[in-house]
């Protein structure tokens, strides 16, 4: 079952990829409908397999499938091994389940795209790699998945490659992730050095010396800051919105960006050994949650708001992991996958309905025009705000609760996260209010043309809406994944405080944007982080680059030119001797012969 689960998306990738290549060679077009159906079928089959595999897991423990020997180097041999336990099972269900819905949604969304076959091939490749990541039984295999999803993400961000900005966004994501991957690699080497194996089961149990343990945790966390877009490497995620919206929903909201949380949860026994490392994770998580929530309040692009919101929510998850509540983090991964995928897909439906408009200040009054989108978006909105009984309520309160009461939690952490929650309510309500209520702020013609999305797009919205509403009650499986951090029922005080926080944020936003004439706000990146990075690193790299250029032009090329000059000069000198007359050569020969004779006879005579 586990093997077939990862083989289905692979098969989809191979079929769609081969078909796209074949038709590109013959100048024909891949039918988006057929290609999308193949990809979606593959994902639905994988989801079925994931459900069946889940049923096979013993109460405590895991299923392991040894596929083949991957490589062996000296005493080290690495098997290609799949391992399913409660933790990876949650991820596989989310990946295949949410993935299948997003594939279905894409069939309609990408209907008019010329390269739909390529798109579905990439999407299947992504799911295959993501399953590799969460099912990998050895660290290199997790790394393979880790890099594979990065590749798929890069390909899909730059999917509409005719616009240079999209390509640049893809490259930015790829390069930012490389910084984190270095951390992963070094951490993998440390793990191997101290445990003598790359098997996750062994590495999980290794006990590292204090200093090494902290650096291991920090290196792993560096990898997570790249992949899961945390401070300081988060700036690629908002730019990643250049890709098609379903991609944003699947890769940059629901699955790939949560792989950092998976990694921390997977290695939690090792991670927990370092108090310093944990404190750093919690601190960075909370700081990211707050800072990106502030930035989200100043965005105009509907997808950018959601992107910053994703970074902020990921910050919540890392804060949870940092205080030792890995279960709460994973729980939030799951609920977040539901409601954020929903919000993105609904945003995609709005964009689709308005033929590509993404500016929330040019929307408004779409409630009547897009009823399904509106109601499902409402479910997502309520879930991210944490209104009971929506899914976000359970997971977010759990995180807030753990931030306050767990051993490494503190009032500071709780306070920061609470402010982030208020801001979350503010920017989400701002978005919600501006898009769906009030008077339309676009051309009348455009407003009249706005239309509800077709069934393949509406169906995933409804399903995800239901999950956003009810997903919170599925806390039990997560609880099983991490028995050591059992879900504690949030105390009433925290529940009330968090709901009040959400209500305050929502009310401010509603009031502020309920005036009859909404003034368009300029987009602002508040902290100018991109500008600072380009000054700091771009400037430094510029200096290094010009120094290298000087070195290359003057020193390296100079040496080469010197060799050439020496050859040239000696050639010109010897050239004089080449007079062309055989007798002159003969004379030279005889002179040389005489000299040689005298030289060798020197000792004899």
């Amino acid at each position: 079952m586990i093997t077939s689960m990862i083989l289905f998306p692979l098969a989809g990738f191979v079929i769609n990829g081969a078909w796209s290549l074949w038709s590109a060679r013959n100048g024909t077009r891949v039918s988006p409908r057929v290609s999308g159906s193949i990809a979606t079928t593959a994902m639905v089959a994988a989801f079925m397999a994931a459900i069946m595999a889940r049923a096979q897991i013993p109460a405590t423990g895991s299923i392991e499938v040894d596929c083949f020997r991957w490589f062996s180097l000296g005493s080290l041999s690495v098997d290609f091994k799949l391992r399913l336990d409660a933790l990876s099972s949650i991820f596989t269900l989310v990946i295949t389940g949410v993935g299948a819905m997003i594939h279905l949604y894409s069939v309609s969304y990408m209907e008019e795209d010329e390269a739909a076959g390529k798109y579905f091939a990439y999407l299947n490749l992504f799911c295959f790699m993501m399953l590799n990541l969460v099912l990998g039984g050895t660290l290199p295999q997790v790394f393979l998945g880790w890099e594979g999803v990065g590749l798929a993400s890069y390909l899909l961000i730059g999917f509409w490659y005719r616009e240079e900005a999209n390509v640049a966004a893809g490259q930015k994501a790829f390069i930012m992730n490389r910084i984190g991957d270095l951390g992963f690699l070094i951490a993998m080497f440390i793990g191997y050095k101290y445990s003598g194996s790359l098997d996750l089961t062994t590495v999980e149990k290794v006990i590292l010396p204090a200093g090494v343990g902290t650096s291991f945790v920090l290196l792993i966390f560096l990898a997570c800051t790249g992949k899961s877009a945390q401070l300081p490497l988060f700036t690629w995620l908002p730019d990643a919105m250049a890709g098609p919206t379903p991609v944003s929903a699947l890769i940059h909201a629901a699955t790939m960006v949560t792989s950092g949380v998976y990694l921390l949860a997977r290695l939690s026994p090792v991670i927990s050994q370092s108090a310093t490392g944990m404190a750093v994770i919690a601190g960075i998580g909370a700081a990211t949650a707050l800072i990106t929530a502030i930035i989200a309040c100043f965005q105009r692009d509907i997808k950018k708001v959601l992107a910053y919101s994703t970074v902020s929510q990921l910050g919540f998850m890392f804060a949870a992991c940092g205080v030792g509540a890995f279960g709460a983090g994973v729980f939030h991964v799951m609920t977040h996958a539901f409601f954020k995928a929903l919000l993105f897909l609904a945003a995609g439906s709005v964009i689709h309905g308005l033929h590509g408009e993404q500016d929330i200040f040019k929307m408004g009054g779409l409630k009547k025009k897009l009823p399904v989108t509106f109601w499902t978006f409402t479910a997502g909105w309520a879930a991210i705000l944490g209104l009971p009984p929506f899914s976000g309520f359970f997971s977010k309160d759990e995180i807030l609760h753990q931030a306050l009461v767990s051993n490494s939690g503190s009032a500071w952490l709780f306070g920061v996260l609470l402010i982030a929650a208020v801001l979350t309510a503010f920017y989400m309500t701002r978005l919600y209010r501006l898009v769906f209520f009030g008077t339309p702020r676009m051309d009348q013609a455009k407003f009249d043309h706005a239309h509800e999305s077709p069934v393949p797009m509406a169906l995933p919205l409804v399903l995800l809406g239901v999950l956003s509403l009810a997903g919170g009650f599925a806390g039990e499986p997560v609880h099983l994944a991490h028995p050591e951090s059992a879900l504690s029922t949030p105390t009433w005080v925290i529940m009330i405080v968090s709901v009040i926080a959400a209500a305050i944020g929502a009310t401010i936003a509603f009031r502020r944007y309920s005036v009859s004439e909404v003034k368009a706000e300029p987009t602002s990146d508040v902290f100018r982080i991109d500008a600072v990075y380009s000054k700091l690193f771009g400037g430094g790299l510029g200096v290094i680059a010009s120094a290298s250029q000087w070195l290359e032009e003057r020193v390296v090329q100079g040496m080469i030119r010197m060799v050439a000059a020496v050859t040239d000069l000696s050639g010109n000198m010897i050239r004089v001797l080449q007079v062309g007359s055989a007798q002159a050569y003969l004379l030279m020969m005889i002179i040389a012969l005489v000299v040689m004779v005298f030289y060798f006879m020197k000792g004899v005579v």
């Binding site: 007079v579 062309g580 007359s581 005889i590």
Partner: protein
């Protein structure tokens, strides 16, 4: 008739060789150059025979026979080349054949 001392023969041999060498270097006429080469070869032959006589060994005589054969072949080929050159250039001047220089 007094017997020649070997050193006399060797001096003659050296003189003939040097005359041949100078002729080869200085004269521009290819026919004369070929003749100079013959002189040098025969100077060497004389040398061989002298040493052979001195040491009472036949090896020198044998080598001389070989050298004479090779010299005959060489002059045949050389003359052929000179004739071919004369047909093309109407001259047998060695300064005329410097094509390889450039």
């Amino acid at each position: 008739m007094t017997a020649f001392e070997p050193w006399m023969l060797l001096v003659v041999s050296i003189l003939v060789f040097c005359i041949g060498l100078l002729g080869l270097i200085l004269r521009k006429n290819l026919l004369v150059m070929l003749m100079s080469i013959e002189l040098m070869l025969n100077a060497v032959n004389l040398c061989f025979v002298t040493f052979s006589k001195m040491h009472q060994l036949l090896d020198g005589h044998l080598t001389v026979l070989f050298v004479m054969t090779v010299a005959a072949a060489e002059s045949a080929v050389g003359l052929g080349l000179v004739i071919a050159m004369f047909r093309n250039l109407r001259s047998v001047d060695s300064d005329q054949i410097q094509l390889l220089r450039d």
